[in-house]
Symmetry: D3
Subunit: 273 residues, 6 copies
């Protein structure tokens, strides 16, 4: 992957951090990044990479994926005060957004796995343009499955494709002509569609926006045809409903993780050295 | 600004939309984008620009900044089914994220202006790396003030700068050496600091994390020194507290708008033409 | 995918096509691209895209994937002589290289399918840096399977991975922790390894550098464990040996297609209009 | 020249080497690159540069341009197993393609120089889009002359230019108006054209697709006009015909070197350290 | 800011410094950069950054902003002769152009400050496309104010805007709707316009192309309305006229600094080490 | 060549032309670009290309390379007022800088050709980083020869190379090993060096910083050896000295053209349509 740090810095700095240029000299400083809300930490690697790019000495005090309480020091950074001040906001933005996602993921994973230890909680492509890689990483830090990073990862035939093709069986037939190296997934809105997809040879079947009962029925019917087929459930999943789908789903995908999880809170305290 | 559409598409598509390539032919189609939650719409221009990039014919059915009810059709797009399917997710991601921000902004603006019609609600730099431009646009669509897009927009001396410089007066003195074309803002954590900043010649004073009462006292003291100085209030502002700061603030800046506002919900329905 | 045409043109042109600038005026011209060797044509779309970029009017006279005899006119292009002359070489380079690959692919596909109509001939990652997309497209034009475009397409555990991990079973166990959306393939050098991979739950098994007899034995053993597992054969496959592997292979992958297939021959004849 | 390594890696890796991520830990390893076919080695500098980019310790065991027998170890690389595995294929692709070209070049150079020690064997612009620089380097490693890297290197008026301009004399007259710093070369298809070009003041004359006898006659006629004019011969040159042109040519340019030379064979053996 | 050094080097080098490649070996050398005209030195940081990029050891012998006499050694650089020779021209181009601007700026600053120690001499946007950052830096080295780096730095309503809007008062009213974080400046061509702008609430008023007397009158009228308004003067300012505007201007902006200041003269002497 | 317009616009605009956004609506306008100083116009093509990029309708009223008097309208542009205002400065910057160079070039060309109609006036590599292409174009518009655009255009062995190599004869011998497609030029500081270069086989000899008399002697000696060798003269050439070198020089190269020629003056008048 290309290094996005220079571009992200450029977005925040523009032509120059004029405040720091105007008021700060050659002082050395130390910054301490502190969690201000309880969260699963994610983004430490990105912050560390940023500080390395700025030629600062950073040290992680906790590990990505760890729960921390408010007040926990998660990272220190030492070097020229100018460089610390100029990169502070980007470091905090990585941490607050990625930890927010990791925390929401971990909460759903824990809820779902309490019901079915084999179930996976996955993300979706409902991500922020340009920031998907980091959002998927945060899901993985939280214990989730990234699902497709891009449209070229896997064949996933959704309702809008089916409206054009007309038939699940025909859609799967066409998909099979494509490379053997990719899995084929079909979105089904009814148990009948799920069964048709299973018979056509889908590797994964996505039960979309079904009630927990209907989804259970569809999953059962599919597994009777081929136990190797993976059942994915999606559609407005929230903490209170995930436990209803977890018993029979292999994968539960949740758009909320990346489009609506609130950020965790972090701040940096700087002092002269 | 460089055109980010190709890069955002590349992030979502990778080497190719293999599903669409595998199962869709030369069919023409129409897609209708429908709001599924009540929201202030933002992102129409970006979706339109994307569709234009894909050589599709798009039509906006509502205006950016308008409140819409669930079920409202906001946009149609016509052309090759392949191109519509390949760009669907990016278009929806613009709409859902930007409308989420615009909606949260509008709600705070309405609350604050009911108390003080002259107050501005502003964003912060707590944005998603690489997506700030769109987040700031969404704030503007919601009726907010974008505040600094970048560090080069304005001089804003924060607590961490002051810990290095040591004195507000000295920091302002240094800042004044920089170009006459930029405003100088100082973050104050106490009314005494606010007064010192005012006397030193700051154009804007940011009252950070003060209680409503303390902020009121600081604002009063500053205006007594120079009525032209702009008072900005910030720090964990939420709907229930914004009305307490609104009476005397010129600007209230809110990180929540860009780091934690939940997405609005949109979907696209496609049919063959 | 980003548009490579500007970069490819820049590589060929540098600062300017000084010959054309120096000796050609505003004349209009027509160029005819003619095949000079028998081949399966590939690269027409790329040449067409290039001419469109140059604002020239191009017309394809044959279809990608079609066998043509020497002397066949495959494309015409009309417009300013300068633009035709400046883009001539890049258009021909696309055609000659991609048609060379498509032709070699078609020859192997025909040989293999005569023995086993269900077998697929696939490419490898032994491609020219920066030109893989086009080489994979040419394989597809020739009737082959592109196989992995990139390392992120599929999990493929090769001998060098196994030397680090130590055990096929352990390697598959680790791979299964990764996303459900990806297939898992294992390279096996003996029938015993193939059996171990099959038992561990691999989706695809690559029989590498085995003799036709040994590969046949391995394939049989694997299918006895799970008929759904895909058998891929690789390792120095040439026209005379492909028929020996074809009877029992699902996929035969051939590095030769992209690293050593000779180019087809094309030229352009230009005349003033 | 911009560093292409990050782009080439991105092409091969995409978002991530998911196999290595999934199955390899923090092990250290050593990789040994071994030639598996007899060849003139080229691409060592590029492989070394790649390994340096990956922060690996590489050591070249032979020199670029050296003949090696099958089984010769040409390079070792030490460091984290992950980084070695992720960069293995790109390193091998550089070596196999560039050594293939260097080997073909050396063979022609040796044949031609046995007849005329002063003759140069040169490449053409019939190269792979995006990879020309490396192909030209490989020709130089093989003892050849790169010829034009780009259209801005030299003025070379070809048959298609002449069809527009109408006259060699007029074409040269126009070319002379361009900068004094560039050589002017004309393609001639008959001895008469060669003579016209010589009289018009060309610095180099390209005898294209002439029989050896006709080319000899043209060369003689040109040298009688001005011994300083360089004679280049081109058009379907192969090992068996190069010796027929070598006696009187100053330069023999061969498209085969870059569009059809078969790759040399290399592999990497990795072991844990 | 992105690092422009690689792009600037690429512009000068193209595919390779063929002279140095052809004639220089592995010799080590030292280069000494010498001023050949009296000037205020600027560009040392850029030259140093370039040499660092080339992995050369550079040492600055004077400071940016210092007056030097012809013959003064300003910098030394040590390392491989090839790298020094390849980067020589770009280093000198930075120095000669930036020192030319710094020198012209210092001369005007000294003239203007002799009359009014508080006045600032500023640049304009009349800069070389792609090189503005360096030209603004040179102005700052010379003691000037950079003024707007870009159109997003500040709102500056010029005559052409007013011809569309129709009224200064209306233009300011519209500008005030934009972010509080930006200053608003109005161009006035008469004292009456200046007064209207002052009353409308402009932060800065640009008196454009007025005679010294008219500008004095306008400045006086503005300051009577609000002493905090900044008065900028512009329009064909040269050394002989700057002293006439300096007494009452806060800022004098001069396009000449960046579009017509003659370069300073520098050369490099290299010797083998 | 890559299209620099987007980058140049980005440099000037940054995130947005906030003045125009804030005060201008959907008005249509016409802008007229007027020369305000006597000059040879250059930059019209670039301004036109910029306006096309902005989707404006532009019309050139004069031709590149034409002398114009102050007050001459050179171009009109029609379309949305916003787009005209946002691109105004960049269009004028192209025109003022390129016309300044073209004017200075034409003046020297006229002086030199009055003495020797065959002499060429050429530029150097003393150009603005990132803007060389345009500066070279302006020289060509003014009737000059661009000389080397980049280090890869031609082999030019300068004094600093000779200090490393030690001998002109040896330097030329090494240069001849490089591609036959490039000319070889040597810088000589004495007639003896010029003679040595001529005997060694240089294509061009650069007489650097010689007095007119010494240069005349060197030129004569060189031509006696080989009349085909091109004589270039350089070193502090100005209008009053060019006529002294013109009688015997083939090329006179002048750094002044690109590093110190004053800009021509242009402005744009806009009115609502």
């Amino acid at each position: 992957m290309p290094d996005n740090i220079p571009r992200f810095l450029a977005e925040d700095i523009g032509l120059g951090d004029i405040t720091t240029e105007a008021v700060i000299g050659n002082e050395k400083a130390m910054g301490v990044i502190v969690a201000k809300s309880k969260c699963v930490v994610s983004g430490l690697v990105e912050a560390d990479h940023l500080f390395e790019h700025m030629k600062l000495d950073a040290e992680m005090l906790v590990e990505n994926g760890q729960w921390v309480e408010p007040g926990t020091k998660v990272m220190t950074v030492r070097g020229p005060a100018k460089a610390i001040l100029t990169s502070e906001r980007l470091a905090l933005n990585f941490l607050m957004l990625m930890s927010g996602i990791a925390t929401a993921t971990r909460e759903l994973v824990d809820l779902a796995k309490a019901v079915n230890p084999k179930v996976r909680v996955a993300g979706t492509r409902k991500t922020t343009p340009g920031f998907r890689h980091y959002e998927k990483r945060a899901i993985m830090t939280g214990g989730g499955d990234p699902h497709r990073f891009r449209l070229d990862d896997q064949i996933l035939i959704k309702d809008n494709h089916l409206k054009i093709v007309g038939s699940i069986t025909e859609a799967v037939r066409r998909a099979k002509r494509y490379s053997f190296s990719k899995k084929i997934e079909i979105e089904a809105e009814t148990p009948e569609q799920a069964v048709e997809a299973a018979k056509a040879g889908a590797d994964v079947i996505l039960l979309d926006n079904m009630s927990p009962e209907m989804a259970a029925e569809a999953a059962k019917a599919v597994k009777e045809i081929n136990t190797g087929i993976i059942i994915e459930v999606s559609g407005g999943i929230r903490p209170d409903t995930i436990v209803l789908y977890a018993p029979y789903a292999d994968v539960i995908s949740v758009g909320y993780l990346t489009h609506s999880a609130p950020a965790a809170d972090f701040s940096m305290d700087i002092k002269k050295m």
